[in-house]
């Protein structure tokens, strides 16, 4: 079947599904392969054109410290060594790691510098970020509801703390599909690390939950096969593979003529897409044609395949090829101790590459319609973990306030939204919940987060549950 025919079939089936009025029962077995499991769908709003066409989500897993990176609290030095006032703490829950110690204030372990016209303050461990400060829209008033990693990260990714719901990338893929014919809609890149991380990156962070499996993120691995089973088997001549595919398609069509099952034609299309991916993916991941200047921009680590920096280069290449949702994961931001070595190490992994990515997108004209999002599942406490005076002290988890930032794709450049109190313990102004953030990302993509729903177990689910409002203050 020609691609055009297959697409028409897919499109008509999708309309078909969208067109069914609510309350009418379906059990679309024959259509399952094309659309999903049996669905009683609210007609989905046709998405309006969003400011962003795609998202690059630079996920920093473990809870980066806002106090060392972005949320400058110079006056905290005066409070150093004193107990956090009860009026600030307000009985906030602690993890078992610090619940039994005194809550002693520990000021930032590093100096801050001011950058650009916006005058943004950024910690000295991120020297490269300063260069792009004027492109960034900081949200210093993020809040989360969860204080442990897995629930908090699950919440950030899926809008709910327990596994089982679709990830944000899956929702976007479901809602918008992809303009790319040869690559998946939703691609995930995980940094290759030497050190076993204490926070595994569960594959459900990019899963499709109850949405059909085709919407789940495709993780491109750092291996000779970026996609599992991508390579033709050793020794299989190309002409034979091509011949087999043609033969398969002929035989499948013969059978389809007899069974009348449209699903068979979908299978043909599935195999054709697989075949296209066999050339498009290696072409994408092969950085050998990138000029030296690219690697100079993203930093020396970008030459090491699988590093965060190399993944940033890949993210730009994916964006160029129209992939809708690109998500990087960089682990090991869980700095309970030794900020000057541990946190610095993660800053060094990411700083130049992140800044390089923004610069690169900008000069290629991609930043206008690419939304870059940076952040982790929560922040870190202004209270020292361990002896606050010791160089070995760290910080415990802190969901009450933390910093995330966005750039490009319809957000204000050189802007800071929201603020925290003098301790960076509570939000002082314009709190942004995780659901708000999700609603805003969806909005920038042209999706009304309240209307993109999926019926499962008798309920219309959405990414933002029953919460979330678009943060108008960050919109350009």
């Amino acid at each position: 079947m020609s691609n055009a025919t297959a697409d028409t079939l897919l499109a008509s089936t999708r309309r078909h599904f969208l067109g069914r009025g609510a309350g009418i029962t379906l059990g679309a077995v024959a259509l399952d392969g094309l659309i999903g499991s049996s669905i009683r769908g609210e007609p989905m709003a046709p998405p309006r054109q969003g400011r962003a066409k795609r998202v690059i989500f630079l996920t920093q897993s473990g809870g980066p410290s806002q106090l060392e990176l972005f949320d400058h609290k110079p006056d905290l030095v005066k409070q150093a060594g004193t107990e956090l006032p009860a009026s600030v703490r307000m009985g906030q829950r602690l993890t078992g790691m610090t619940a039994n110690q005194k809550q002693i204030v520990m000021p930032s372990r590093c100096a801050f510098r001011q950058y650009g016209q916006s005058g943004a303050t950024i910690g000295e461990w991120l020297p490269h970020m300063g260069r792009v400060a004027d492109e960034i829209c900081f949200i210093k008033s993020m809040t989360s509801e969860h204080i442990n990693h897995a629930p908090a990260m699950t919440f950030l990714q899926t809008g709910h703390q327990l596994p089982g719901r679709p990830s944000i990338g899956a929702w976007v893929s479901y809602g918008l599909g992809s303009p790319s014919r040869n690559l998946p809609d939703f691609v995930v890149l995980v940094s290759k690390m030497q050190r076993p991380s204490d926070q595994p990156l569960y594959d459900y962070y990019w899963g499709s939950g109850f949405l059909p499996g085709r919407y789940q993120g495709a993780r491109f691995r750092n291996a000779s096969e970026p996609v599992l089973y991508l390579q033709d088997p050793d020794g299989l001549p190309l002409a034979v593979r091509k011949g087999s595919l043609d033969g398969l398609s002929e035989l499948n069509r013969m059978r389809a003529a007899q069974t009348g099952d449209p699903e068979t034609l979908t299978r043909v299309r599935q195999y054709e897409m697989a075949y296209r991916m066999q050339s498009s993916v290696p072409e994408l991941t092969d950085l050998s044609a990138e000029p030296a200047e690219t690697f100079e921009l993203y930093g020396p680590d970008s030459r090491r395949p699988g590093s965060y920096a190399a993944n940033c280069v890949l993210a730009r290449r994916l964006a160029e090829r129209g992939v809708r949702f690109i998500q990087l994961f960089h682990p090991d931001w869980d700095h309970h101790s030794r900020l000057p070595s541990w946190c610095v190490a993660r800053c060094r992994d990411t700083d130049q590459a992140t800044a390089g990515l923004i610069t690169d997108l900008k000069r290629r004209g991609l930043l206008d319609d690419t939304l870059v999002v940076w952040g982790g599942e929560f922040g870190r406490s202004p209270v020292g973990q361990g002896d606050w005076k010791s160089i070995e002290a760290g910080r415990d988890h802190h969901p009450r306030c933390f910093t995330m930032w966005m750039a490009g794709g319809g957000v204000k450049a050189g802007h800071t939204h929201g603020s925290t109190d003098d301790f960076s313990y509570n939000v002082a102004r314009d709190p942004v919940s995780v659901h708000d953030l999700q609603a805003t990302i969806m909005h920038l993509l042209g999706i009304d987060h309240t209307r993109l729903t999926y019926r499962f177990q008798g309920r219309d689910f959405r990414l933002t549950d029953v919460h979330g409002s678009v943060v108008n203050g960050v919109l350009a």
């Binding site: 030497q194 569960y202 099952d261 195999y271 030459r303 000057p340």
Partner: protein, 1008 residues
């Protein structure tokens, strides 16, 4: 879109009068109950439309008088302020729905209980016109509805289709040739019945049934959260298989799994059964309150009972009263009380008590199999050792000559240049790297060098004193937090990582005394909080560190090595003053120890006789480079490890249920938050569903009896619906997880009830129901569909045909193995790890969990026995349940990723090869070969047109392989199956390609 809605309604209603449960309740539930339903807290205007009295008393409904009913007025209102449902709800009524509401109110607005909450009665078998088509009562129900819609059933399926359908549905494996032939001779109802019985008597049947139950039970071999530690609950999986093997009645099956620990006179098997309620994920994250985790587990059990037995979405009630179904939040926590006093404390990993120490009878077979593999490989290892003797003699001669010419184990690396990241000045002086100038708190030295060796197996770093000592800082000491080696090419932009396997130092201080710095191994983990240091020795003493590479590195002409020595310590100020690098090409111990390398000892010997001890060392070094031995030794080591692992499974801890001595007091949790305790509740079942069985204590035994009591309206319906789903690809209720108001209504309500009643009457006999279904004429229909029929009933709600759908991926794997003859039908025992691409576990866990694929015949076990890691499920599965929460519906979607796996997974390639290797008999022609493979996979002969395409591809493959001399050999190396050496490689490879094609046909992947 409207025509479809109309068609849908007509399809549902036929010419019947409006029915409350079928037509009206779904509308009220979906559009109104969120604000006017059972949930008291979100109720608006004190109006309950789920309650007849409230609806009447408030005037919302005036029976018989739609025009006076506020409900209709509001629904029809054009005023945005009064219109219902309100715009902001996003809900809208279609004109058809409004009409249904009007018609219902006009006809008296009679309320009825939701169909699924009415106890099951045996419906009368309807009369049909075409009695000749009917094989058993199932057909009467289906045909009656078809006749009412003016439709006719499809023709009988072809006998081979039927044979495959039965075998797939009941065993998950293909039918045998004799089974296909026997059904071809006689496909009568009796013959099918005998076939069903035969299939249901097999172990394969029990394994097939177990798969779906494992999905429902969210069974997995790891914890799921933080670290994703392994657990050993697999004996429970064997318990399930055994229960299906012995056709344990479902009420007993329920009782043992819910309360086997409480059963009077129980044994270990009954306690083992209760592991069902321990398969939830467990979270041992540091700093997490174990009580919060424990509450999560209790909640998970209630939700699982809700889905697996009751078909209710109880999870909603964790936070509030159910918005649609008559289940209150208090009901929910009453249910939770059954599971609240387990003797557990919310811990995970190896501390997830209570445990049952269990010895599985299935392990002995595994040990035997493992021992056989070890014995085979031990013999192979000895053979290669002997084979190495002759080449060793030659090698030794050459080595002596080289040594005589001045060759030594370590060669100075002669750096080309050295640079720092943070500003230290590094100069290369006579091969030494010397630091001067700035002395930053932390710095990394990058040393570029190109050893003039054929390959490199190790790097030596000499840390040498400068002015004050080996370090430049205040105390003259050095810390090396990490070392990284990469190979960079001047012709390429990308570098490659050179992996270091081991690290040794001539001295290392006690790590604990120096803030984590001491152990040289820690320089390999990319963690700046640890590393090697020179503490506890004189700072003027030189130090030596040796790093062995995990693979010898060969540099291409444009490549050089970069060693990056990082000093990123927490305290800082420990940069190296002076250093020198060495490289070696010696295999074996030379790069792993600081001892004098064997060839350096050889140099000392000169031309004298080599002492025996040295000769042995040299031989061991040679063996490390002698490929046949290296491979054989590695294979033996893997087999030994596998055997040790199986032996360790002889006695395992299984997480089970046990009551704690002091029962906990259970509370409603306000908004579902674990530490916000509300009113105290006592254990009890959901009163709106069924009464508590008389004279039964409120414990888990009672719960099991309540679940399987005749008065319980749900369990029997839910179970037979899943059996129907197993035989038709979709249930009579298309939402098997939700029989509540928001779920789908059954397509054939009377049939569902009839089967449910029959199920209970038969003593909860699963095989009895499966036999009824599989011997019906409805089941035996063809699944072929005309365009017209597809347009009329795309979802096959009328069952005027069978269903054609893609097989689940686990079944595809099992069928592939069976077709090829590779399948190892052994039952039970610890999980195996079938081969999957390298790195799937490692990437997810940053190397914490390594996937070591099972070798030998055990790798070909059924997928049921494959190890299930929750953070990374088996890579060869698609659309499978996630095994995180209870799942009873199996989605089917299409992703190109699956097409790639089905074509390129080595197990599929070796299966194709194994199958092809069986066609080398009697000099068959191409056409005969193609036909034989086709029949084997598809249970039917190819048509001439199909045969022509396949023969064409066979010829194409032969030509291509003969034009590429090495290709066939390589192609035959995918996977581990070895065909008899007598078979011509080129012919085998070509036939394997065609077998692979047939394996990838839609028909081979489908259940028709």
């Amino acid at each position: 879109m409207v025509p479809f809605a109309v068609a849908g309604i007509l399809l549902v209603c036929g010419a019947d009068p409006v029915s409350f449960t079928r037509d009206v309740l779904p509308i009220l539930s979906d559009k109104c109950f969120a604000c006017h339903g059972p949930d008291a807290t979100s109720r608006k205007a004190d109006l309950r439309l789920d309650d007849a009295t409230s609806a009447r008393d408030t005037g919302a409904i005036v029976p018989g008088k739609p025009e006076e009913s506020e409900l209709l007025k509001r629904v029809l209102s054009t005023n945005a302020n009064t219109h219902m449902p309100p715009a902001k709800s996003g809900k809208k009524l279609t004109p058809q729905e409004t009409e249904l509401l009007r018609a219902w109110v006009a006809s008296g607005a009679r309320y009825e209980k939701h169909w699924a909450f009415v106890p099951v009665a045996r419906p009368a078998i309807p009369a049909v016109r075409n009695q000749g088509w009917v094989r058993n009562p199932v057909d009467s129900f289906v045909l009656a509805r078809l006749e009412k819609s003016g439709k006719t059933p499809s023709a009988l399926a072809d006998s081979y289709v039927l044979a495959r359908r039965l075998a797939f549905d009941l065993t998950g494996l293909p039918p045998s040739e004799s089974q296909i032939a026997s059904l071809a001779r006689n496909a009568s109802a009796t013959s099918i019945g005998k076939f069903s019985d035969e299939l249901m008597a097999t172990n394969a049947f029990a394994e097939r049934m177990a798969w779906d139950w494992l999905d429902a039970a969210r069974y997995a071999d790891t914890d799921g959260f933080q670290g994703d530690a392994d657990r050993t609950n697999w004996p429970w999986r064997d318990w399930v298989v055994n229960a299906f093997r012995t056709n344990m009645p479902f009420d007993r099956f329920t009782l043992e799994q819910c309360a086997g620990d409480l059963l009077p006179g129980n044994g270990p098997e009954q306690v083992l059964a209760t592991a069902f309620h321990r398969h939830h994920m467990t979270n041992g994250e540091g700093g997490r309150d174990p009580e919060e985790s424990r509450i999560d587990y209790v909640i998970d059990r209630v939700n699982t009972v809700g889905t697996a037995w009751l078909g209710l979405t109880l999870g909603c009630c964790q936070c509030h009263d159910h918005k649609y179904d008559p289940v209150s939040q208090a009901d929910y926590y009453r249910m939770s009380a059954f599971f609240d006093s387990i003797d557990e404390d919310g811990k995970a990993g190896k501390a997830a008590k209570p445990y049952l120490k269990y010895q599985s009878q299935h392990v002995a077979r595994g040990i035997e199999a493992g021992q056989r593999l070890v014995d085979e490989r031990k013999a192979a290892e000895s053979r290669t050792r002997a084979e190495a003797m002759a080449p060793f003699t030659t090698w030794l001669k050459t080595a002596r000559a080289h040594v005589g010419a001045g060759k030594r184990a370590w060669q100075p690396a002669n750096p080309l240049r050295a640079e720092s990241v943070e500003g230290t000045t590094l100069r290369v002086v006579d091969g030494f790297v010397v630091a001067s100038g700035n002395n930053p708190r932390q710095d990394d030295y990058k040393i570029v060098f190109r050893p003039s060796l054929p390959w490199v197996t190790g790097i030596k770093v000499e840390v040498l004193p400068g002015e004050h000592g080996v370090g430049r800082g205040a105390d003259g000491h050095v810390i090396l937090t990490d070392i990284k080696i990469t190979a960079r090419s001047s012709a390429k932009q990308q570098a490659r990582d050179v992996v270091i396997a081991t690290a040794v130092a001539d001295f290392q201080p006690d790590t604990k005394k120096h803030g984590g710095y001491g152990n040289v191994r820690d320089t390999l983990d990319d963690d700046p909080r640890n590393g090697w240091a020179s503490f506890d020795r004189d700072v003027k003493e030189p130090r030596t560190l040796v790093f062995a590479l995990s693979e010898p590195v060969q540099l291409d002409p444009h490549e050089h090595l970069v060693a990056e020595l990082r000093q990123r310590s927490t305290m800082g100020d420990r940069n190296i003053a002076k250093m020198r690098l060495w490289a070696t090409d010696q295999a074996g111990e030379a790069a792993r120890t600081l001892a004098t390398a064997p060839i350096d000892e050889l140099a000392k010997v000169g031309s004298g006789e080599i002492p025996k001890k040295l000769e042995n060392r040299l031989f061991e070094q040679f063996l490390a480079t002698f490929v046949p031995h290296r491979q054989a030794a590695a294979a033996l080591a893997r087999a030994e490890k596998q055997l040790a692992e199986t032996k360790a499974a002889q006695s395992v801890d299984v997480m089970v249920l046990a009551q704690r001595k002091e029962p906990r007091s259970t509370h409603v949790l306000v908004r579902g938050v674990w530490d916000k305790k509300g009113a105290k509740v006592e254990a009890g079942a959901i009163p709106s569903m069924a009464p508590w069985p008389k004279n039964t204590a409120p414990d888990r035994l009672g719960l099991a009896r309540w679940l399987t009591s005749r008065e319980n309206p749900l369990t029997a319906r839910v179970v037979v619906n899943r059996l129907w789903q197993q035989c038709f690809g979709a249930g009579l209720v298309r939402t098997p997880e939700d029989f509540g108001l928001q779920g789908d209504a059954p397509t054939h309500p009377e049939l569902l009830d009839w089967l449910a009643f029959e199920f209970m009457d038969s003593g909860w006999n699963l095989r009895h129901i499966l036999k009824l279904i599989t011997t019906s004429a409805t089941y035996a229909q063809s699944s072929n569909v005309s365009a017209e029929a597809l347009a009329h009933d795309p979802d096959n709600r009328l069952l005027a045909r069978q269903t054609r759908y893609r097989l689940p991926s686990w079944m595809i794997r099992d069928i592939t193995l069976a077709d090829s003859g590779l399948l190892n039908p052994a039952m039970g025992g610890p999980p195996v790890r079938p081969p999957q691409p390298l790195g799937v576990w490692e990437d997810i866990s940053m190397g914490r969990n390594r996937y070591e694929a099972t070798e030998g015949p055990e790798q070909y076990r059924r997928t049921l026995y494959a190890f299930w890691r929750r953070s990374a499920a088996p890579a060869f599965l698609f659309d499978s349940a996630q095994r995180r929460v209870c799942e009873v519906r199996f989605p089917r979607t299409n992703t190109p990723m699956q097409a790639l796996a089905l074509q390129n997974d080595p197990v599929r390639l070796e299966a194709a090869r194994a199958l092809a290797s069986r066609t080398f008999i009697n000099n068959q022609s191409d056409t005969e070969v193609v036909a034989a493979m086709f029949r084997r996979i598809l249970s039917r002969p190819p048509t001439p047109a199909e045969s022509a395409v396949l023969v064409r591809e066979l010829v194409r493959a032969k030509t291509a392989f003969s034009n590429m001399p090495d290709a066939a050999g390589k192609y035959l190396n995918n996977g581990t199956f070895l065909a008899p050496a007598s078979i011509d490689k080129l012919a085998l490879a070509s036939r394997a390609v065609v077998a692979g094609m047939i394996f990838n046909l839609d028909e081979a992947l489908s259940r028709e």
